[in-house]
Amino acid sequence: MQNARTTLDQSGNELVDLAASRLAWNCLEQEFWFHYTDRAAARAIAGTRTYRVSERHPKAPGLYVTPLQPGSCSCAELLNALFDGTRDIERTQAVVVLADGPLPLTRTDASAWCHRAPAGTELDLSEHLVGWAAKEDGKWLHSPTLYIP
C-alpha cells in the first residue's frame, strides 16, 4: 500500500492520504453516501458501526446523508447545501461513508437525503458503513477501507 502520509488517532487507527484516483467513489460504479459531521462523531459512528438518531430535527428525525463527496465543494457550499446555512464549519470537517444498500432514503433537499427513523433510534450500519474520513490541515485523509487496493 502506498504510504504517502498516515496519521494515527489515539486508538491506533489510521487515516491515510493516498491518490484520489484510488478512492472507492472514483473507482467503483456503485453509489456512496456521505454523512458529514465532526471528527469525534465520525470516529464514534465508525467505531460502533451504529448511529443514534438525535432530536436535532424534531419534525423529520433520521440519518441525513448526501452524495456530495469530500472535497467536491467548499465548506461554505456544504453548509448552505446541507445545514441550512449554519456557520458551524466543524460539521464539514469529517464524514462517515456509507455504501448504497437497502437503507431506504428519502430526498429532503437538492443535495440531502434522509433515512427516516424516530429520534433515539439506534441504526445498525454494519452492512453499510465502509469508512470515514477527516480533514487535517485542509487536506482530506481517509480510512484505508475507502481505497481500492
Binding site: M1, T7, L8, D9, Q10, S11, G12, N13, E14, A24, W25, L28, F32, T37, D38, R39, A40, A41, R43, A44, I45, A46, G47, T48, T50, Y51, R52, S54, E55, R56, P58, F83, D84, G85, T86, R87, D88, I89, E90, R91, Q93, V97, A99, E122, S126, E127, L129, V130, G131, E136, S143, P144, T145, L146, Y147, I148, P149
Partner: protein, 327 residues
C-alpha cells in the same frame, strides 16, 4: 462532586474487521482480506460480523459454521460506549451548531479554532489526542485551570457529558471555555448566578440578568450569548448528571432589578445571526413554560422569548431602552 480531573477520558476504539468500500472483503490489522471466510483466530463478535457480511454479500459461500454463529446472539455495545457515541453525536449536532449560531465560535481567534479542531497540537501527537477530553486536558488545551473547568462545568457554563462517573468534554466545551476565559470575573459570576436560578422558571431570570448586565458592561453580547446558548441547549440529556440548581438567595447583589419581574423580554444588541436562528427554530417548544417565536421588528435584530403564562406583558427592545433611559 467527584474529583475526576486526572482520570483519563474514555475513548471509542475502532477495532476488528472493517468492511471495505467494495464490500468484497474487509480490512484488518493493515491487511486487505478478500471474501468473508470464517477465521477462528478472531474474537466471537468479529467472527459473527464477518458471517453477517458473508450472508449479505456472498451468501453462496456461507458455511454451516457461520450459520451457527449467526444464530447466536450478538454482543451489544457497552453502556459507556453507547454514551460516548451519543455524546459525540449530540456535540456535533446540537452543542457545536449552537455555539456557532449564537456567535461563540465566531469569536475564536484563528489559533483557538485550530486548537478546538486539532486538540492534539497542544495535548500531544503521538498518538494524536482527540475528543473526548478530561477536565485536566481541556484546561491544558484552553489555558484555563482545572479548577476553573470544573467550576464552570458544575455551574452549567460548559457542556459536559458524565460517562462512567467522570466528565467528558467535546469540542463545544472547548469553544465555551475559550469564550469564558475572555470574560472578567464579574461576568462569569453573573452567568453562573443566572444559570443557578430556579429551575421551574429559568428563562425570565436568564434574560433579565443578561439585559441587566448589558447596561453597564462594555461587551454586552458575550454574556447574553453564553446565557442564550445555555437557555436554548437545555440540560445535556445524555450521560449528564448535573448538580441541582440552587435557588436564588434574596438580596444577592446580582438579583435582577425590576425588569426581572416581567414575564416576557426582548433582548437588544443581538446579532443578526440570532434572528436567523429564531426564524429557523420558530415555534420550537423549549419546555413547559417557554417557546421561542420570531418577532421581526424594524430597526432591531430582535429576538423574543415569550413565557406562556396568562397575563404576561410583552416588553420590546424599545421598551427596555426606554426603561434604561428613565433610570
Amino acid at each position: 462532586m467527584t474529583d475526576d480531573s486526572r482520570l483519563p477520558a474514555l475513548q471509542i476504539t475502532i477495532e476488528g474487521p472493517r468492511l471495505r468500500a467494495d464490500r468484497e472483503g474487509y480490512f484488518i490489522d493493515d491487511e486487505y482480506v478478500q471474501g468473508f471466510a470464517d477465521r477462528h483466530d478472531l474474537k466471537l463478535p468479529d467472527r459473527q460480523l464477518i458471517a453477517r457480511w458473508c450472508q449479505s454479500f456472498t451468501p453462496d459461500v456461507l458455511t454451516s459454521e457461520q450459520r451457527r454463529l449467526l444464530e447466536r446472539s450478538e454482543a451489544r455495545l457497552s453502556t459507556a460506549t453507547q454514551q460516548l457515541r451519543d455524546a459525540a453525536i449530540e456535540n456535533a449536532e446540537r452543542d457545536m451548531p449552537l455555539a456557532a449560531d449564537v456567535g461563540l465560535y465566531g469569536r475564536l481567534a484563528a489559533d483557538e479554532v485550530r486548537k478546538v479542531r486539532e486538540p492534539w497540537i497542544v495535548l500531544g501527537e503521538h498518538p494524536p489526542r482527540d475528543y473526548p477530553l478530561s477536565a485536566a486536558e481541556l484546561a491544558e488545551l484552553t489555558g484555563a485551570t482545572t479548577k476553573q473547568i470544573r467550576s464552570w462545568e458544575e455551574s452549567g457554563l460548559l457542556p459536559a457529558y458524565w460517562i462512567a462517573e467522570r466528565r467528558h468534554f467535546f469540542s463545544a466545551a472547548a469553544v465555551h471555555a475559550f469564550a469564558l476565559r475572555k470574560l472578567d470575573r464579574n461576568e462569569i459570576r453573573g452567568a453562573r448566578r443566572v444559570l443557578s436560578s430556579d429551575p421551574e422558571d429559568p428563562i425570565p431570570e436568564l434574560v433579565a440578568a443578561a439585559v441587566e448586565r448589558s447596561r453597564y458592561t462594555a461587551t454586552p453580547a458575550r454574556l447574553t450569548m453564553l446565557i442564550a446558548a445555555k437557555a436554548l441547549a437545555g440540560p445535556s440529556a445524555l450521560g449528564s448528571k448535573r448538580p441541582p440548581r440552587r435557588a436564588i438567595s434574596p438580596g444577592h447583589s446580582m438579583s435582577p432589578r425590576p425588569v426581572a419581574r416581567f414575564d416576557t423580554f426582548c433582548m437588544t444588541h443581538v446579532p443578526a445571526d440570532w434572528s436567523r436562528l429564531a426564524t429557523r427554530r420558530s415555534g420550537m417548544n423549549l419546555g413547559p413554560h417557554v417557546s421561542v417565536r420570531d418577532t421581526p421588528q424594524e430597526a432591531f435584530h430582535t429576538w423574543s422569548v415569550q413565557a406562556q403564562c396568562p397575563g404576561t406583558v410583552l416588553v420590546t427592545a424599545r421598551d427596555i431602552e426606554t426603561l434604561a433611559k428613565r433610570r
